[in-house]
Each structure stands twice: as C-alpha cells, then as structure tokens.
Symmetry: C2
Subunit: 270 residues, 2 copies
C-alpha cells in the first residue's frame, strides 16, 4: 500500500460510519492539508455509495466547508448517501472529532471515462523542465515546517518564486510540477489533494502567514496517466480579507485532470 493510500484509508464500522486516522505527515505546520482531508472523506463516500449498490468508484465533484482544523489523530466519518443515480450519485460526509464536525463535504461520484475531451477552454500551463524548477523544502528557513513536502515533491517555476526571497512578482500565480516522493502514481483521490497542495498564489502578492481555506470545490475530470502532474494556481479577487483561488492540474499526457476553486482568508503586512 502506498503512503498516500495508507494515510487516507477508512475502515467501515458497518453502520454507515467510518474510522480514519489523520496523519501528521500530510500537513502544513501542524494542520492537515485541506485537500488531504477531502481525499479521506471521498474514500468514505465511495465506500458508502458502492455499498448502496451504485457503480460509482470515483469522485467527480467535491465541495468542502472547513469548520475547524482537525488535529492529527483518530476521526469518525459520518456518511449520508443523498442520492444514487445511473450516471452519478451524491453523498454528504462529516469528519468528526470529539463529537464535533470539523469538515463537511458534499460529493458527486461516478465513473471517470476514457474518451478524449470534446472541448477545452483551458490551455495547458507552460512550464520550464522540472529540473529547472525550485523544489519546495519541507523545512524552509525562517518559516514553519511543511511535512507535506516530504510526501509530495513540488517544483515551482522560478519566474513566480520571488516571494521566497521577499520579492513577490505580483502575478498572483504559482505553477509547477508535482509528484509523490514514494513513486506512487497519481489517481483520482490524489488529485483531490493536488489541487490544494500548492503554496497560496497570494504569496506572490505579498500575503503573509497561513491562508486558511473556508470552502474548497474540486472537479476531477479524468483518471490521470502515470507520471508527474503539472499545476497552476491563480488568485482571482483579493478584497476584504478574503481571496478566491483557482487551481488546475494536468497529467503527463497534458490532459486537464482536475480543477478547483477555494475561498480563503488572507492577511497582508500593512
């Protein structure tokens, strides 16, 4: 079992609920990555919908609302299957600790197809070769630890890395390459994490500190081919202490395999 599969495993209790163990390793500082939590919740949703007889093994869409950052440790997942259908099923999952919901998410599940896309309005992100990009360290000097970057190798285009030296470029964008460090190939569940694994695009606008996500909506559009993923996250509007950010992910065959938008709180030095 890959490190990602082990860190996102769920165990059915038989009453529609599931046990999970939130790892301290897929975290930013001591807070589990938000996309990592969605991946755990998606596994419970798929198991519940499959147990209800619907042939829907893949997450197609996820919308998560973050109520409180759950510390690493045991969690209980409560799943409500809202609808089973022919081409898609829908479920709600609550991630609970100590009797309190920490995250709630809605899932649309189905079966990802193999056909080529009919049309795309989203051009492939252009990147330098991975070897010319900057690997993000898990232990950056002067910043908090990012254990997640021991699990995922993120290499960022140096053209949008000025913020790391205190000189943001004000493009509002971060882009680069992503793969697992244990060699596990990407799958639809890893994409739920990949869309939230990048540094905030607002770092390039001079924002400081953590950018806590309030809500994250993800679409998984294809099962990714083996090989590295490309990503691009862009800030939309920064206003009133909030930002929306869009993230897109492509596989090694240059297909768009996932996209996501999130609404987060953001701080600036002044």
């Amino acid at each position: 079992m890959s490190r990602f599969a082990a860190a996102t495993a769920v165990v059915a209790r038989g009453d529609g609920s599931f046990d999970a163990e939130i790892s301290p390793e897929w975290a930013i500082g001591d807070r589990p990555n938000g996309g990592y939590l969605v991946a755990i919740m998606a596994r419970a949703a798929v198991e519940a919908v499959t147990a209800a007889g619907a042939p829907h093994p893949h997450p197609l869409a996820a919308a998560a609302t973050y109520l409180a950052a759950p510390p690493p440790g045991p969690a209980l997942l409560l799943v409500d299957v809202l609808r089973t259908g022919r081409t898609a099923s829908q479920a709600r999952v609550a991630l609970m600790q100590e009797g309190r919901a920490r995250v709630e998410a809605q899932f649309t599940l189905g079966r990802l197809g193999e056909a080529a896309p009919r049309w795309s309005g989203i051009p492939l992100v252009e990147l330098p070769p991975a070897g010319d990009c900057v690997r993000l360290p898990a232990d950056p000097p002067g910043r908090f630890q990012v254990p997640l970057f021991n699990e995922l190798e993120l290499r960022v285009d140096p053209a949008v890395m000025g913020w790391a030296a205190g000189k943001p470029e004000f493009t509002g964008e971060v882009r680069g390459w992503l793969r697992t460090t244990d060699g596990t190939e990407p799958d639809p569940f890893l994409l739920l994490l990949a869309v939230d694994a990048t540094p905030p695009a607002t770092f390039d606008l001079g924002s400081t500190g953590w950018v806590p996500t309030l809500t994250l909506s993800t679409y998984v559009r294809a099962a990714p081919a083996p090989g590295p993923l490309r990503f691009r996250q862009r800030a939309g509007l920064v206003a009133d202490g909030f930002v929306d950010e869009v993230c897109e992910v492509w596989d090694s065959r240059d297909r768009l395999v996932a996209s996501a938008t999130q609404f987060a709180a953001v701080r600036f030095p002044d």
Copy 2:
C-alpha cells in the same frame, strides 16, 4: 416588497426550520432556476445564523448539490448552523419537499465590506452597449418557455449568439447585461441567482437541451451598486458528458461582485 424578495421569502417556524414557496416564475421551463433556489436557502441560513447571535447578514460563499429538481410549490428548509465565528459563520441548509431533500447547500456567511479590492486577476468583461445586445425572450420560438426571462432582462452580446440561429461560434462563452424587470436593484441574494441565470455557455459549442447542474459553488464578493450587472459565463472542459462552467458578475461600477463555478451534465446531437 420586490418580486424577487417575495419569491425568495422564508418564514421561520421557530424550531430552526423555515417555510418557503417555490415560485413557477423564476424557472427554466417548469424547473426552478438553480441559483434562485440557492437564494431562498441563503435567506434561511442568514436568518438562522443571525438568530444564533452572529452579525453575518450576507452570503459570502455557497456550495449547492442538486439531488432532484423541485416542482414549484411549498418547501421546507432545514438549517443546521455549523459554526458561528467572528468574521464568518457557516451553515448547512436542506430544501425538502414531501420529506425528501431536493437540494443541499453549505453557506459561509459574513458582512460584505465597502473597501476597494486590494488586487484583481479577473479583467472586466467588454460588452457592446445594452441597446446593441439581444434580449433573451421568455417565449422563444421552437424552444421551451423561460419564465425567468420575464423577471430578469438578459441582453447578450450578439457576437456569441450564433447558437440561437443554429450557428454556434465555438467560443464556449456567453456574456451580456442583466437586470430585474421590476426595477429592483441588485443585492447579494440576487447575485446568487445572477451567476446561474445565463444560458449555458455550451450552447455556443452546439450542445442541445437542458444542462442540469449537479453542483454550483458561488462567491459573493461585494454588495452591488445600483444599476445593471454585467455577466460572462465560460465553459472549461467538456468531457464524458459533463462540463464545468465559470460565471463572473460585475456591478455598474465595474467591480467584480460575484463569481461561480458549476459542474453539469451536457448533451450533444451526435
């Protein structure tokens, strides 16, 4: 009371639930518009969060999952306040008919500010004057009725209206002007409808029939100034019978006031 306020009114039962009446007038054919349903549900969320003591009168983010199209008529709204906080609160709302949830939505509520945006990566859509745009009819020849367009005046840029004459332009975009027909000025709740009121951007790609939304995520970023709204909806990826579409809305002061993304099923003639 404006027609929109009347059509989205909710009445508290005093036990955390609310009564609403789904109007047949804010509909596409005989199916209520999905954004209209979110606006009703947002009113219940705001009332419940306000009753819980949080000063959060505005929807900031909404994520809705559509389970079954509710027919016009009475509906019961069940609200769970998930968290009350200092700058934002969160709630889940289920829209029920005959004991079944038809739509579930998560809301993040707060208070929209007055400050100018700090940064925007989303340029204003350029449009011809409203008088040079094509008003969408409520009773189009050869297509189903759209009562919604008696309530909202949508005027679409003729450059992306080829589909109406059977000649799509394959831009994957629809853009234009929007205002209420009774003169009601836009407010944050109307924006929840506006982001879903446009014809599908896939019409310009040759899609046929209704494009049923599976999930819709909306951010409201500012209280809109009086006057007409501008909108632009763009298709992202069309694959495997599904499409994602992004819609952005600006107010008469050219400020981005709302953005949304939806995941929908889509059909083509071949």
